[in-house]
């Protein structure tokens, strides 16, 4: 009989716990705070439940490492996402998102300043924050048919998680997987019809960005993987533009193309990570 001592905790911590927490939160909050905010809060609840179950010594009141900071980053991400979306659309909204992205990214790279130096660490935080804000702004400009579906974000988070786990960033990888599961739970509760909404998109991108930044800065997760995953967040821009020009007849095709285009860079990243693991012999 196969040894399930590794698999069962992984399923409990990374799948069942975030799914249940996100689903309960989405159901409970839907009427209280409205759909979009409920989705963002449910994603955060699912992620934090998995974090508490996965990371030993979690919720440190005196965070030392980037992973110690992660729950506070998530809380700030969801709170910040709900808050900045009140800013008027346009440049000010983008700037508000960029400031939030840079601040949270800086929290992630802060413990590495001693090794990286202030300039390199700050540059990484600024670039990460701006990329997150740009992806968030593009995804919520109304270009995408039916807005952003939670499963589309789940594909990116799940692929990123798998790639990080294959590339030796086990804990960030597992947590990215939990983020994907939380998004899937929101999709189920929304009967696969409810879009993610701006706050949930922002929360997801901020949390996933912080995990990828951790993996890159602290464990050498390849930059090309990060770039491909960032591209995946807006890979469906072309069919979205076509659909937004009134070609309603091809909307379903645009949606299919949208998912396919999102899948391509994600699949490439996972493929590269599998090859990298095989080349190093696995262990």
């Amino acid at each position: 009989m196969p040894d399930t001592s590794f698999l069962i905790p992984l399923l409990l911590q990374g799948v069942l716990a975030p799914f249940a927490a996100a689903a309960i939160a989405a159901l409970a909050l839907r009427r209280a705070v409205g759909g979009p905010a409920a989705t963002a809060l449910a994603v955060a609840a699912g992620f934090l439940t998995s974090y508490a179950a996965t990371v030993q010594g979690a919720w440190s009141l005196s965070p030392q490492s980037a992973m110690d900071w992660q729950p506070w980053v998530v809380l700030a991400a969801v709170g910040g996402a709900l808050l900045v979306d009140r800013a008027p659309a346009g440049v000010r909204l983008f700037l508000a998102r960029a400031v939030l992205g840079v601040l949270l990214s800086f929290v992630v790279v802060w413990p590495a300043i001693g090794s990286l130096g202030a300039v390199k660490a700050s540059t990484a935080a600024v670039v990460a924050g701006i990329v997150i804000a740009a992806a968030w702004s593009v995804r919520t400009r109304g270009l995408f048919a039916g807005d952003t579906h939670p499963l589309q974000l789940a594909i990116i988070a799940g692929g990123a998680g798998l790639a990080m786990m294959l590339d030796s960033s086990q804990t960030p990888g597992r947590l990215a997987g939990a983020l994907a599961v939380a998004l899937a739970a929101c999709a189920v509760i929304g009967r696969f019809r409810t879009p993610a909404g701006s706050a949930a998109v922002g929360t997801t991108l901020l949390v996933l960005g912080s995990l990828l930044l951790q993996a890159q800065v602290y464990a050498g997760f390849p930059l090309v993987y990060v770039a491909l995953l960032a591209a995946a967040t807006v890979a469906d821009i072309a069919p979205a533009l076509l659909a937004s020009r009134g070609r309603s007849a091809i909307t379903w095709r645009a949606k299919a193309a949208s998912i396919a285009l999102t899948l391509v860079p994600v699949a490439v990243v996972v493929g590269l990570a599998v090859k990298g693991m095989q080349d190093s012999g696995g262990y």
Binding site: S5, F6, Q56, G57, Q64, S65, A66, M67, P111, A112, G114, S115, L116, D167, S168, S169, Q170, T171, Q214, V217, Y218, A219, G220, M277, S280, G281, G282, Y283
Partner: protein, 197 residues
């Protein structure tokens, strides 16, 4: 046993005993010694998969200093670069350097600073001190063996020690996969050869 066997065996044991007594190393001359990184090493060993087998790795970059004096004045300081961890497997090395284990970017060094030393005439004793790993400092006590004292190729004074001990990695925040993937108890062995300055 025939009549001659006992005296022969006794003589052999006596010779062996004399030889063993002679293995006690000459005391190291007092002074400051610098660790010779080429002939020194820091090794760790854990039980893999909760104890199915013993898995060993090492750190390739180690430096430090010994001040040899009377035991109460003797001091040892060892610094190990966590980025130099070597498990003989590139993929595993990358994981060991990550925040799941040594977090080499945030904590590039692991240090040991002695606080007390005992050494008997046979060259065996204990080395107590503070081990700092991942920013956590805990007292640890190693078993210490003075291996030898002698001259190098250029006539320089050299001295060798081996320190062995066991720590719990979770005490230092190295929690990943404990104890199912790798045991909490980690055996450490530090082989030191140092050159008198």
């Amino acid at each position: 046993m025939n009549a001659f066997a006992f005296p022969i065996a006794a003589a052999a044991l006596s010779l062996a005993g004399a030889a063993f007594a002679n293995t006690a190393p000459a005391p190291a001359p007092a002074g400051t010694y610098k660790i010779d990184a080429v002939h020194s090493g820091a090794f760790f060993e854990v039980g893999h998969l909760g104890g199915v087998s013993r898995f060993m790795g090492r750190f390739r970059d180690m430096s430090g200093e010994l001040v040899v004096d009377a035991p109460e004045k003797t001091r040892v300081k060892v610094e190990v670069k966590t980025d130099s961890v070597d498990s003989n497997h590139d993929g595993l090395d990358k994981h060991l350097k990550s925040p799941d284990f040594f977090s080499a970017v945030q904590y590039p060094t692991m240090t040991f600073t002695s606080t007390g030393l005992t050494l008997n005439p046979a060259g065996e004793g204990t080395l107590a001190g503070n081990l700092t790993l991942r920013g956590v400092t805990k007292p640890v006590t190693f078993k210490l063996r003075h291996v030898g004292t002698g001259k190098g190729m250029k006539g320089e004074q050299r001295v060798g020690y081996v320190a062995t001990g066991t720590i719990k990695r979770t005490d230092f925040g190295v929690n990943f996969g404990a104890p199912n993937a790798a045991t909490d108890d980690v055996d450490l062995r530090i082989n030191i050869e140092a050159v008198k300055q």
